[in-house]
Each structure stands twice: as C-alpha cells, then as structure tokens.
C-alpha cells in the first residue's frame, strides 16, 4: 500500500467546510420553521390579550347611589296616582328631581363641591338615569311620595376614569368632562356614594344611544343570536342530514348527483357576504320579509351552514363500516331501515359534532347580517317566538361591529367585552364538540 495520504480531517467526526455549511443550513431551516410556529402562536396570544385587556373593564361599572325623595307635589300634581297622569311629567322633570336629590345627598355626606357647578355635578350621572327613574315610577306608581334608594350608572367618562381610560390630562381636552368633576367623583367614592360593581345590565340590558355608553347592553343581541341559532338548528340539521343521506347512500353516480356535489363544494367557498346579498335580494325584496328580523338572519345563516353540516355528516356516514349495512340487509331490513335504524344512530356523534361546529361558525358570522339590516338600532326586545322571529333584533357579532362604529371610546371597551362573551360561547361550544367526539367516537 502506497501512502495515499488520507487526510485526517476527512472523517465524519471532523466535518469539512461543506458539511458544516450543510448542517448550518439544516439548523437555519429548522429555526425558520420553529419561528413560523412561534409567530403564529404569538399572534394568537397578542390577539387574545389585546381583546381581554380592553374588554374586561366592561364587566364592572361605576354606580352612583342616592336617596331620591319622589315628592308627590312635583311628580303627581293630580294626586290620583293614575299612570296616564304620571306620564305627563317628562324625563326633564325627573332630571330635576334627581339633581336636587344628588345635591342634597352630597351636602348630607359633606362632600366638598366648591369648585364644581351644579350642572357639572348633575352631569356625573348617566343621561339614562332620569328615564330609568321615570320608568320605575310608571311601573309602580305607589313609589310616589316615598324616598327611595336609587342606584344608577355614573357617566361613561367617570366610569372610564376609575378604569384608567380617562385621565385628568385627557379630561382637560375633553368637552364632556372636566378634571374638577373627576376629582369630585373621587371624593364621592370616598363618601360611599359612588361604588363599583359587577355590571349585570351589560348582559341583559338593551343597547343605548351614542351618548350613553354606560347603559349599553347585550340583551337584545343575545336574544337575536339565540333565535337565529334556533332557526339554523331546526332547518339546517334536518335538511343537511337528509341531503347527506341521499348523497352518501342512495345517489347513483350520474350528472345530476355530480351537479349537486359540485354545488355543495362551491357553496362552502362562497364568501359569506354573498349570502347576505342573497338574503337581501330574495328574502327581503322578493319575498317581502321584514328587515333586521331574526327569521331572515336565521335563513341566511342556515344556507351558509348547510355545506359545513353536509360535509361533516357525509364523513360521519362514510365512517360507519359497510358490514353494519350488510348485516342489516342480511336479516331482512330494507335499505331505508338499515340506514335509519343502524347507520344513522351510529353516525350520530359525528353528525352532532359537525353540527355544533357549524353552529359556532354561524354564531360568529357578521358580514351577511349587516346586509339584511341587522345594524339598525334596536331598543325594544323582540317578542316570544314564533311571532318574535319577525321582530327586529340584533346579533352578538353585529352588536360588536355597531359599537365600534360609534364615536365614544367607551363603546370600544363594550365591543371588546361583547367579543369576550362571544368567544366564551364559542369555546364552550367547541369544547362540547371535542368532549362529544372523545366520548362517543368509535373506531371500527
């Protein structure tokens, strides 16, 4: 053997420059992949964090509690306690009652009001307060003549001050609030007139106008969304399951079934806003259904969810092994009996999971509902079904959009709060779907 100089560096234990380069490239590539995953997860965290941070405030609220003497000579001049008579006193009249009561309360609790005018003090109360008081009295005329403990919202800016959204600096530039008012609010908090508490009205109250963010609630949106989900459930599930059974079990392979198949897969990809256009053109203009009714919303969402449900149901039906069908046919069942008595029950968990996921999608859908008039301002609760399906209603995601379009930043907080509620619903629905799948899924 001649000495063919084997360089000691040519060994896999001593990687040469090229191998090192290749290994470095390998490391880099791996790092790119990892960082892509991390970017995705970080985006998720930032998204959730920013919504939570700006929305949690909407669950608590600053309230002002005062003793209000409902003097009969002011509120009921006739003395009959007749509701029609009581209605003659407008909210302005009740506003005056409240103002006097508030001033007296401040004096009683020895709160220093030296540098704030009476009008400014009154402005600490929500603009909703006189109407609330009036409705209370109209609902129960026997209150007149008594002194009641009246708890109402503080103005949205005052509320924002205690949540850190409004500062003394920003108040100087704000035409709606002065630093003096905020300092007074702080003194009122010390005196126990102004308190913070959990805001139930955010969940159950109706929406409120632009100037009263503190009074805006999700009640009507809840009902509207619930009605729509009910309609989707009642229509989309039977139709979707029936269509899937036909396509999966009965349909012969021909042009006609191909047409249906192509249609379903295309519908799944049509942008949601196009369904809104369909709803507007067909249900509202052509068939004359009322605008912003939950019936129209429910129908549009039904058409949108159908492909999801059909795809899930077909997968579930396909997962049931043919031996089940064969066994049923073998003991004399008809094809229909084998499907309805055996295949369908076995596929039910899968169908249910698909349905819940479809419903969750429908619950969060916004764009088509904007087009069928659900953006309009609704202040009265829709009636009980079935007639209530035709009443104007709102929907959770549309309410969020609505609030973001308003000027007052307090509404952004409300919108984020509503998103939190919506996300909680979605998480619960998806968890139920996962649990169902884990619990009932059968591997054949």
């Amino acid at each position: 053997m001649t000495d063919v100089a084997i360089s000691p560096t040519k060994s896999i234990y001593n990687p040469d420059a090229r191998t090192r380069r290749r290994n470095a490239a390998e490391m880099r590539f791996r790092l790119y992949g990892l960082s892509a995953v991390v970017v995705g997860l970080v985006a998720l965290v930032i998204l959730l964090w920013s919504i939570l941070a700006s929305g949690l405030g909407s669950f608590s609220q600053a309230f002002i509690t005062i003793d209000v003497p409902l003097t009969a000579s002011v509120l009921d001049k006739s003395g009959t306690r007749d509701v029609e008579e009581l209605k003659k006193v407008s909210t302005v009249g009740y506003g005056n009652v409240l103002r006097v009561a508030l001033m007296e309360q401040l004096a009683r609790d020895k709160v220093d009001t030296a540098d704030v005018s009476e009008k400014e003090i009154f402005d600490l109360l929500s603009k909703e307060a006189p109407a609330t008081l009036r409705n209370m009295v109209l609902a129960d005329p026997s209150l007149v003549g008594q002194t009641i403990k009246f708890k109402t919202y503080a103005n949205g800016r005052v509320d924002g001050y205690f949540k850190g959204r409004v500062t003394l600096e920003s108040a100087k530039l704000d035409s709606n609030i002065t630093p003096g008012q905020l300092l007074l609010a702080e003194r009122m908090q010390d005196a126990g007139i102004l308190t913070s508490g959990f805001n139930w009205d955010f969940f159950f109250g109706p929406d409120a106008s632009d100037l009263r963010p503190e009074a805006a609630g999700l009640g009507i949106a809840f009902i509207g969304s619930a009605y729509m989900m009910l309609i989707v459930l009642v229509l989309a599930v039977p139709i979707g399951v029936a269509a899937s059974i036909y396509l999966e079990e009965f349909a012969p392979k021909n042009k006609f079934t191909d047409l249906i198949e192509v249609n379903i897969s295309n519908l799944a990809a049509v942008p949601s806003i196009v369904f809104g256009i369909l709803g507007l053109a067909v249900f509202i203009n052509f068939m004359g259904m009322p605008q912003s009714a939950s019936l129209v919303g429910g129908l549009v969402l039904t058409l949108m969810t159908l492909p999801t449900i059909i795809i899930a149901t077909r997968a579930a039906l396909r997962a049931v092994p043919p031996s089940i069908r064969d066994a049923a046919l073998g003991v004399g069942a008809s094809k229909m009996q084998s499907i309805f008595h055996h295949v369908l029950p076995l596929a039910a968990p899968g169908i249910l999971t698909g349905t819940i996921i479809g419903l969750a999608q429908a619950l969060g859908e916004t764009a088509p509902l904007l087009l069928i008039g659900m953006v309009s301002f609704v202040r009265s609760f829709p009636g009980a079904p079935p007639e209530g399906f035709l009443d104007p209603a709102a929907a959770l995601p549309v309410q969020v959009y609505n609030w973001t379009q308003r000027g007052d930043p307090a509404f952004v907080e409300r919108a984020s709060g509503a998103i939190i509620v919506l996300l909680i619903f979605l998480v619960v629905m998806n968890l139920v779907a996962i649990v169902l799948r884990r619990r009932f899924e059968r591997r054949w």
Binding site: E26, A36, V37, L47, V274, V282, E365, T366
Partner: protein, 486 residues
C-alpha cells in the same frame, strides 16, 4: 289563525292519521300482523306523510307566491296615477306594504275597527300619526291613492290568509282520507313510504342547488338592472369611485379591485411563508408532544370569528402601525391601512394555509423522502429539493384557496382597511375593497332602485365570479395532484 296554529293543526291531523292508519291496517286482518304486506307502523307512516307533506308544501308555496300576486293586484289600483315607471312603482309599493302592515297592527291591538279603516282617508285623518303609533314611520306624506292601495293590499292579504288556511287544511284532510282508503291487506305500505322518503331526501339535497341558483339569479338580475342605468364600460374601466346621492355618480370598479388585490397580496405575503414553514415544521420536525399542543392552538386561529380579527385590527394593529411606522416615516396618519388589514388577514390565513399544506406534505410518498435520505441529503435538503417540488402543485392550490378567502373577506377590511377608494402604492394609506363597498352601499337607508345601491350587486357578482374561478382552479389543481400519488 296564525301560521303556528295552522302548522300545529296539520301536524295533529297527521299524527291522528298515523294512528288511524295503523289501526285500520290491523283491523283489516283481524289483528294478525303476519297477514299484512308491511309492518303496521308503515301503514301509519304512509298516512302521516300523505297528510303532512302536501299540506306543508302548499303552505310554503302559498307564503312564497301569494305576496307576488297580491302586489300585482293591489298595484292595479294605482294604475292611472302619474307613476308610470317601474322604479317609482317599486318605491310606492314598499310604502303600500308598510301601511298595510301598520293597519293590521292597529286593528290587531284594537285601536281601529274595520269600519274605522274603511272610512279612513289619507286626506282626512292624519295617517302618519296613526302609523307612527303602529311603529311604521312614513317618509313623505301619503297620497290618497297610495292609502287606498294599501287598504286593497290589506284586504287581499287577509283574504289570502283565510283562503290559505282553508286550502291547507282541506289538502291535509284529503290526503288523510285518500291514503286511509288505499290501505288494504296487500297494500305495499313500506315501499310507498320509502319511495316518499327518498323523494324528500332528494328535495333536501336540491336545497344546495337552489341556493346557488338563487345567488346567481339575484346577482345577475340586479346587475342587469344596474347596467341599464349605468354604463358597463364605466363600471369595468372607470378609475374613480365616487357615489353621489343626487345622481351623477362615478362608479368605477378598478380602485376597489386594486385595493382588494393589494390587501390580499399583503395578507398572502404574510400568511403563505409562515403557514408553509409552520406546516413543514409540524410535519417533518416537531416532536409528538409539541405537535399535539401547537397544532390545535394554531387551528384555534381558524375558529375565531372574523369580527374579532376586525376589532384586533381596529384597536391594536392599526394604532400600532400608525404610531410606530406611518407617522415617524411620514407615510400617513390613518390607523386603517392596507398593511393593517393585510397583516391581520394574514394572521387569519396562517392556519388555513398551514393545515392545507400539512395535508399536502403528508400526501407526498415516504419513498421519495427515503430515496433522498439514502443519497445522503439532510432533512432540509430533502424537503427543499424533493418534498417541495413534489408538493408544489398542491401548495399552489392551497395558496389559491387562501387567496379566494382573502378576496371575499369582509369584516377585517371593513374595520381595518378604510373607506377611501384610491389607486395608490403606499401600504400605510387607507384603501378600500370590493367587500367594504358592498357593505357601505347596502347598509343604512337604501333606495333600492338607484344605481348607487344596485352597484353593490354588480360588485357582488364580480366578487362571486372571482372567488368561484379561483376555487374551481384550486380544487382542480389539488385533485389532479392527489391523483398523482394515489
């Protein structure tokens, strides 16, 4: 009788029929089930189906067709007035319908009797005040002719309601007795009921076809109306989007298409590399525990409603980009911009791209990888030089699907991209998209017959054609690719 009560009656009739059918079948053979062709329950099923289904179909058809007929008949009473052209007519008919509904409300809550209504004249009693009581706000003062038409309309709809009730119940009863009389010992009840069921299953699967048809029909029809009022060339080639409520709008689609494609491009620029790399990492590198945690978390992004992304763009990403990029660089000072919408939409599309690519990468046969490893390539070399080229058609398909999603996306651009229709290159400026304009032209108080409203349908049709085209191409590519390795 309300609709609910009518439906309840039909269902009760059908259930009674089912019980009677079963009884009758058993009675015919003296209780000996074996003598029957089918199970006793099948006889009941047949009666149930023949009672309920025709009646319910009739109800649906009636509710669908009657308003059209009533519209036509009550608008005849407006003939001879000055309203000759179609668009004015549709507007008046809306008023007619609303007044009729208001009258119905008033008579239902007892504040107006029938004779009050027939004596009510638009010129005498103040219709507007009464209508406001019923929750119907009328714009202009109502002419006597319109009010008369509304009364006619109301009469017709009340008559139609009564007729419908009678007809539906009659059909239900007829179906009930007809199917009962058909029952005999040898009647093949199971075959009949199953045939009926199959027909219903087919009808259910036709809903999807009907929906597509409805979408295409409504879009094409209204777009045609739009092009009668506005020139098609101006729409497709116009460089200015400037709707005016007094007419004379310039409605060119190009600025909107530009905005749409710009935003989608930014979104894809963001989503495709991240989604693809994440998919590669998940498929080829990630350990099992990591995959089981990270994958569902990433897919969580896909389950979040778009309104949440919209709000994220509005309150977080928009102000951030404005304060740290746009203003310091002097490139603009609006928080809604192409970049805002693009980035947020990109985040939304990451799981979409990654789960599609994941499927596609996993479909590449292991033998290709093994071959590459056998030749001594590293994992990344295998991925870049073997797996990626093999998966490329599928990935192109996935990107096209993501693009179609991006083009059709609405809430993120409504809340993040802005409303100004511009043909510009600056990504930190607000621009607008097709979907934003569909929303803005169709929400709020819209006069249905104006080109400013109808243009939304032309925009919708454009959007539909684009997304459908992209989808068909993408699905074709993906399918072709799948077949390659099967």
């Amino acid at each position: 009788m309300s609709l609910g009560a009518l439906l309840l009656i039909v269902i009760v009739l059908a259930i009674l029929g089912a019980v009677a059918g079963r009884r009758r079948a058993l009675g015919l053979v003296g209780g000996d089930k074996r003598a029957l062709h089918s199970l006793p329950g099948h006889y009941g099923q047949v009666v149930f189906l023949f009672t309920a289904v025709p009646a319910l179909v009739l109800t649906g058809l009636w509710l669908f067709l009657a308003p059209l007929l009533i519209d036509r008949m009550s608008s005849e009473s407006l003939v001879g007035s000055s309203l000759t052209d179609d668009t004015a007519m549709t507007l008046v008919m809306t008023d007619v319908r609303r007044i009729a509904r208001g009258l119905e409300v008033l008579s239902a809550n007892g504040s107006l009797s029938e004779s009050d209504i027939s004596q009510m004249r638009a010129d005498f009693s103040n219709v507007r005040v009464r209508m406001a009581e019923a929750g119907v706000a009328l714009g202009a003062d109502v002419g006597p002719q319109v009010f008369e038409a509304a009364k006619v309309y109301r009469d017709y709809s009340n008559t139609s309601r009564v007729l419908m009730n009678i007809a539906v119940i009659a059909v239900a009863i007829a179906g009930l007795f007809w199917s009962l009389t058909r029952i005999s010992k040898d009647y093949r009840a199971r075959n009949a009921s199953e045939k009926f069921t199959v027909v219903m299953l087919i009808a259910a699967s036709l809903v999807a076809v009907l929906t597509t048809f409805g979408i295409v029909f409504s879009l094409v029809f209204e777009t045609y109306n739009f092009f009668r009022m506005h020139s098609a060339a101006d729409f497709f080639f116009g460089l200015v989007w400037n709707p005016q409520f007094r007419g004379g709008s310039e409605l060119g689609i190009l600025p909107l298409l530009w905005g749409t494609f710009y935003v989608s491009f930014v979104a894809l620029l963001f989503a495709v590399p991240i989604g693809l790399l994440a998919a590669i990492y998940m498929a080829e590198y990630a350990s099992k525990p990591m995959r089981s945690v990270a994958k569902p978390l990433l897919e969580l992004l896909a389950g979040i409603p778009t309104i949440v992304y919209g709000l994220f763009a509005l309150i977080t990403v928009g102000p951030f980009l404005r304060d740290y990029f746009a203003q310091p660089l002097g490139l603009g000072n609006s928080s809604s911009s192409v970049l805002t919408a693009g980035i947020v939409m990109g985040i939304m599309l990451i799981p979409f791209v990654s789960s599609l690519s994941d499927d596609i990468i996993n479909a590449v046969p292991q033998s290709l990888r093994d071959g590459a490893y056998g030749l001594g390539s590293t994992r990344s070399e295998t991925i870049r030089q073997v797996v990626m080229p093999a998966a490329l058609p599928g990935i192109v398909g996935a990107v096209l699907l993501a693009a179609s999603r991006a083009i059709g996306e609405t809430m993120i651009v409504v809340m993040g991209a802005g409303a100004a229709a511009k043909l510009g290159l600056n990504p930190l400026e607000a621009m607008t998209t097709v979907t934003v304009k569909i929303v803005s032209q169709l929400t709020g108080d819209t006069e249905f017959a104006s080109p400013e409203t109808l243009v939304a349908f032309a925009l919708g049709l454009t959007l539909f054609v684009f997304t459908l085209g992209l989808n068909i191409v993408a699905l074709y590519i993906v399918r072709k690719y799948r077949e390659q390795y099967e």
